[in-house]
């Protein structure tokens, strides 16, 4: 098999490629970048959810039983039929509560439990298609097997005392296998994700930043001298898309010393004498004209990844 051409010919080199970056092709055929949720964040989200679940269960029970006491209903084992029925309903709801919690939130419009929302995580279909209800049900049901069962197993073994060592170790091994499952695959999938065809990704949002190429400096006008910065073809041909992105980052961060450094580097490269104190205007002008130059090339099918290409 022939080796694929080096991707650096098309894609600008990144300083440190993020190992959690993934591309998913949407049903429209457009690749979207996703970031796999960090394992630590997911563990924290789970812990947060468990705390909230226990707190909600305790709160609901307290409310229900103070209500029962208020209307003088004997809601306990020795009570009458109504009292026992209330307890039965309560037991069933508590038994199913953790399932209800996860399904209600993950199938709702927000698409994430409070714990996941707090940590900026979301569940998505790995193939880029629709996240089906069945997939959400499957991944949440398997949590019981990964987490709840071994915990119950170990705790009953501890309570019963006899044969505790064997059962305890078996339960612990079970728990550990599933708990460390996400560490043994690239996409940090837990067993439920494997079965459901899902993964957990970051769901960050950012605002549209103003275009740098439409400001006053972008027109090429110096703030100090009313001069216009005009760069020739040769002076713009030095850099590629990667350098343009670095320049964009420097301009957006807007740190004085970084801009001075970059302006000096560019000036040295194109053989200009830099004027002190006007770096931002100089850089904005160079950014805009370099972008115009490179985008013109793109329209003719010529891309320049970086200064080496």
């Amino acid at each position: 098999m022939a080796r694929r051409p080096r991707s650096s010919a098309q894609v600008p080199r990144r300083p440190a490629p993020d190992r959690r970056q993934r591309q998913v092709v949407t049903p429209e055929g457009v690749p979207l970048p996703f970031t796999i949720g960090a394992r630590g964040a997911r563990a924290l989200a789970l812990l947060l959810d468990q705390i909230l679940i226990v707190a909600t269960m305790a709160g609901l029970s307290y409310l229900l039983f103070s209500l029962a006491r208020a209307i003088n209903l004997k809601a306990n084992a020795s009570g009458d039929f109504v009292g026992q029925a209330v307890v039965v309903v309560w037991v069933v709801v508590m038994f199913l509560f953790r399932h209800i919690w996860f399904l209600y939130f993950e199938l709702g419009p927000r698409g994430a439990t409070p714990g996941k929302r707090a940590l900026g995580l979301r569940v998505a279909a790995r193939d880029g298609g629709r996240l089906t209800t069945e997939a959400v049900v499957a991944r949440n049901f398997l949590r019981d097997i990964e987490l709840t069962l071994p915990v119950i197993f170990v705790s009953t073994a501890l309570i019963q005392g006899e044969d505790a060592t064997v059962a305890g170790w078996a339960g612990a091994a079970w728990f550990l296998i599933f708990a460390f499952f996400p560490f043994f695959n690239r996409d940090a999938l837990r067993a439920g994700d494997v079965v459901a065809g899902t993964w957990v990704v970051e769901a960050g949002r950012d605002r549209l930043k103003a275009a740098l190429s439409t400001g006053a400096g972008a027109q090429g006008r110096s703030t100090l001298t009313e001069n216009r910065y005009e760069f020739g073809e040769a002076e713009l041909a030095i850099y590629g898309e990667y350098e343009l992105q670095v320049l964009e980052r420097v301009l957006r961060e807007n740190r004085e010393e970084a801009m001075v450094d970059v302006a000096q580097a560019i000036c040295a490269k194109i053989g200009w004498n830099s004027g002190r104190g006007d770096e931002r205007a100089f850089l904005e002008a160079y950014y805009t004209q370099l972008r115009a130059h490179l985008e013109r090339g793109m329209r003719f099918g010529q891309r320049k990844a970086d200064k080496f290409s």
């Binding site: 949407t26 429209e28 457009v30 979207l32 970048p33 996703f34 084992a77 026992q84 307890v87 039965v88 037991v91 069933v92 038994f95 199913l96 399932h99 209600y104 993950e106 199938l107 709702g108 419009p109 927000r110 698409g111 998505a124 279909a125 880029g128 629709r130 996240l131 089906t132 209800t133 069945e134 997939a135 049900v137 499957a138 049901f141 398997l142 097997i145 069962l149 494997v194 079965v195 065809g197 769901a203 949002r205 950012d206 549209l208 930043k209 275009a211 740098l212 190429s213 439409t214 027109q219 898309e241 343009l244 992105q245 964009e248 957006r252 972008r291 115009a292 490179l294 985008e295 793109m298």
Partner: protein
């Protein structure tokens, strides 16, 4: 379209004129649509779905496609990194909204009870028969083992200290475990059943399916072997039918649940061992999603079995009535799973 770009937004036109770069003009012409989608998605993310107007909800898919195509164009024509990453983020957020789960918990449950559950059970196909065969085999093996050597009873049933149900027990002692326990507290029985290891067995049977189904089969055999041993014990004192009645009232539901769980586990195991044309992970995922649906039903069946055991068995003290209730439950489950096929029900894997 053209009227919208050139007529209404006079101020925007001026900005478009002023922009030096073609890619900036592209951005300014479409920014309105992006901001609208941004606002809609932000409201959805905030859980304020009700406050969304019908217009906005209808516009969502179209706006999403606009943004996706804007992104595709921007990647080919623009080097504004901030713009591209914004569009990527916006397209991703809109993708979550457009391709997220279509129905909430309530709607799914309604579909689940109206055909989805029984379709998933039928989808297990011959794994149901395998599980049934294994359970029958386990019972027979249990019986044969204990009848050949009564010592097996202790290893099959576990050594519970003060249980009177041991080989050599008198007929009266055994009879007493089946009848006349109305004074027992149904509620604690119910709770004990629900949170007992017995109910967890079915969950284990399912969970163990991931090891190619082998542990599921072993677990089914082990548990039904106990049943066989119990049958042998009561048979020896001529109480077979009474024991069956005592078991059947909740057992038809409970054993059916265990059968389904075992079948679900075997289903996953078989899909992984013999994935056919699919990649192993895909095969496991298809089988797993179907099995998980079945298991949601199993949990509900176990709750019902707990109610029947906790209350039904204490209140009803006659073998005939117990058998009638157990048989009815069995018939109902069979009818629901295999005869109930509403035309509307669609099951997706």
């Amino acid at each position: 379209m053209i009227a919208r770009w050139f007529g209404k937004n006079a101020g925007q036109d001026a900005a478009v004129e002023a922009a030096a770069l073609r890619s900036d003009r592209f951005r300014q012409a479409r920014e309105g649509d992006w901001q609208r989608l941004d606002a809609i998605v932000t409201r959805i993310e905030g859980g304020r779905l009700r406050k969304l107007s019908d217009d906005d909800l209808l516009a969502l898919p179209a706006l999403y496609r606009t943004v996706v195509s804007s992104l595709a164009i921007a990647r080919e024509t623009s080097l504004d990194q901030a713009l591209i990453s914004y569009l990527e983020g916006l397209a991703r957020r809109a993708w979550f909204a457009v391709y997220g789960p279509r129905e909430g918990l309530g709607a799914w449950l309604a579909r689940f009870f109206r055909g989805g559950w029984s379709a998933a059970v039928r989808g297990l196909g011959r794994d149901l028969l395998i599980a049934l065969a294994v359970m029958v085999l386990g019972t027979v093996v249990g019986w044969l083992l204990v009848s050949s050597n009564p010592d097996w009873f202790y290893s099959l049933m576990g050594g519970m200290g003060d249980d009177v149900r041991v080989p050599g027990a008198t007929r009266e002692a055994l009879r007493h475990t089946l009848f006349g326990q109305q004074d027992q507290n149904g509620l604690s029985m119910f709770a004990a059943f629900l949170f007992s290891n017995n109910a967890q067995v079915s969950l284990f049977a399912f969970a163990l399916g991931f090891a190619f189904g082998v542990p599921s089969v072993l677990l089914l055999i082990h548990n039904t072997a106990g049943l066989g041993a119990l049958l042998w014990l009561y048979h020896g004192q001529g109480l077979t039918l009474d024991l069956i009645g005592w078991l059947a009232i909740h057992g038809t539901t409970e054993l059916f649940a265990i059968l389904l769980a075992g079948a679900a586990g075997i289903h996953i195991g078989r899909a992984m061992a013999f994935p056919g044309d699919l990649p192993v992970l895909t095969a496991a995922a298809v089988a797993g999603r179907r099995a998980a649906q079945v298991m949601v039903g199993v949990v509900l069946m176990l709750v019902l079995a707990a109610l029947l055991e906790g209350f039904g068995r204490q209140l009803i003290d006659s073998t005939t009535t117990r058998l009638a209730i157990g048989g009815t439950m069995l018939a109902l489950w069979n009818a629901y799973f295999f005869a109930y096929r509403p035309a509307r029900a669609r099951v997706s894997n």
